[in-house]
């Protein structure tokens, strides 16, 4: 079990966000989700952290990943 803090910035229809969340769930990783389509504060936070506008953005213990790259996330979580 990983006890790293995982945050995901997403939009509701985004399939890569859904893939990322499904991947986390399947690996029993808890995460906090922010819907940037509705939450403008979260959107600003995401833009500030990732310097870009695309979703998903995944933050793992302060490390920021743009898009869902399974390998990067596996590595960051030590899976």
């Amino acid at each position: 079990m990983s006890n790293k803090k995982v945050k995901i910035y997403s939009t509701p229809a985004c399939i890569y966000c859904k893939m990322a969340k499904d991947f986390l769930k399947r690996n029993n990783i808890e995460y906090e989700e922010h819907n940037v389509a509705e939450d403008s504060a979260a959107r600003e936070e995401m833009e500030k952290k990732s310097h870009q506008l695309g979703v998903p953005v995944i933050e793992i213990d302060g490390e920021v990943f743009v898009g869902f790259n399974r390998g990067d996330i596996q590595q960051a979580l030590g899976l």
Binding site: M19, D22, V36, L53, G54, R70, Q75
Partner: protein, 310 residues
């Protein structure tokens, strides 16, 4: 040395994995992800055996079936970056530093999104340049955007953006729209949409974020500029086979040329199936059949080699 390396985790790759495991071949499947390109489809109605399934669910089912195979090694979250001849077989290298020696290879790496290849596109990727309208459209609320490409994907992209953006330019290189005529007529009626035909995009402008776009009007040769906040690129796909270099023959579309009886490429020991190969029609069902055929042929090939050695 393994018997077979399968490159890709779409419908073709997964089929290959299942058949290789059932033939008890010593096989390794390498993929960055599962499901292939139709993972983004909302509803697939032509996947034989199931009346209707979301691309996402199909991807999960494919992954689950693959993982249920005994004896198959799966390397996921990684990408093949190079294939070279090595001894009597090949060496397959991955982005994360793995090298696997194998007797045979089945390439099922599919296609990837085609890029414009213009100045500014790379540096501004994610900073206004986007490739997934259904994902990123909500982030362009009240902004001005351009959609590049008048095929079905481009038209759908305009439709996704209509809910959010205040102005959408639909730009097409040709002087005809190739996408669905009914969809196009509907989109065109919307006052927020402006269609620009015969437009060759030359540069995406912007320092930290997209600020505009430069294009050439192919009819007048005039160079024009648009002020924009976002550019959605929807210009089709291109086969993912760069990692093979000149090892195999490719056709004019950069697809790997295959013999349709066996899926063999021009290089002995390498087969290809699915969208990366030159077979006609890019379909999940075809990819599955071709990959199945390829693995059975690889099995025969390896068996005959073993007999030869004895």
């Amino acid at each position: 040395m393994v018997d077979l390396v399968i490159i890709g985790g779409g419908p073709a790759g997964v089929t290959a994995g299942v058949y290789a495991a059932r033939k008890k071949m010593k096989a390794v499947l390498i993929t960055d992800n599962f499901g292939g390109q139709s993972i983004v489809s909302e509803d697939i109605q032509n996947w034989i055996g199931i009346k209707s399934i979301a691309g996402f669910d199909l991807a999960r089912d494919l992954e689950d079936q693959l993982r249920a195979q005994k004896g198959l090694e799966i390397i996921d979250g990684d990408l093949v970056v190079k294939v070279e001849k090595a001894g009597e077989g090949f060496a397959v290298s991955t982005q994360r530093g793995k090298t696997i020696e194998t007797k045979t290879i089945l390439v099922c790496s599919g296609s990837g999104r085609r890029k414009l290849g213009v100045k500014g596109e790379g540096p501004l990727n994610g900073k206004g340049v986007a490739y997934c309208s259904i994902c990123d459209a909500p982030l362009f609320k009240d902004k001005i955007v351009a959609v590049i490409g008048g095929g079905n994907a481009g038209l759908e992209s305009v439709r996704d953006l209509l809910q959010y953006s205040k102005k959408i330019y639909l730009m097409e290189f040709l002087d005809v729209i190739k996408g669905d005529a009914v969809t196009f007529e509907n989109i065109k009626k919307d006052p927020k949409v402006e269609v620009i035909m015969s437009a060759a995009v030359q540069e995406i402008l912007g320092d930290n974020l997209v600020s505009g776009l430069k294009y050439q009007d192919r009819k007048t040769n005039e160079i024009k500029e648009l002020k924009l906040d976002g550019v959605f690129v929807e210009i089709g796909s291109t086969p993912s086979a760069d990692f093979l270099g000149d090892l195999v023959q490719k056709n004019q579309y950069k697809e790997i040329t295959v013999d349709c009886l066996t899926q063999k490429t021009s290089q002995e020991g390498i087969w290809a199936a699915g969208d990366v190969s030159s077979g006609l029609y890019k379909q999940n069902n075809i990819a599955v059949g071709d990959a199945c055929k390829a693995v059975l042929n690889i099995y025969d090939y390896l068996s005959s080699q073993d007999i030869g050695k004895k």
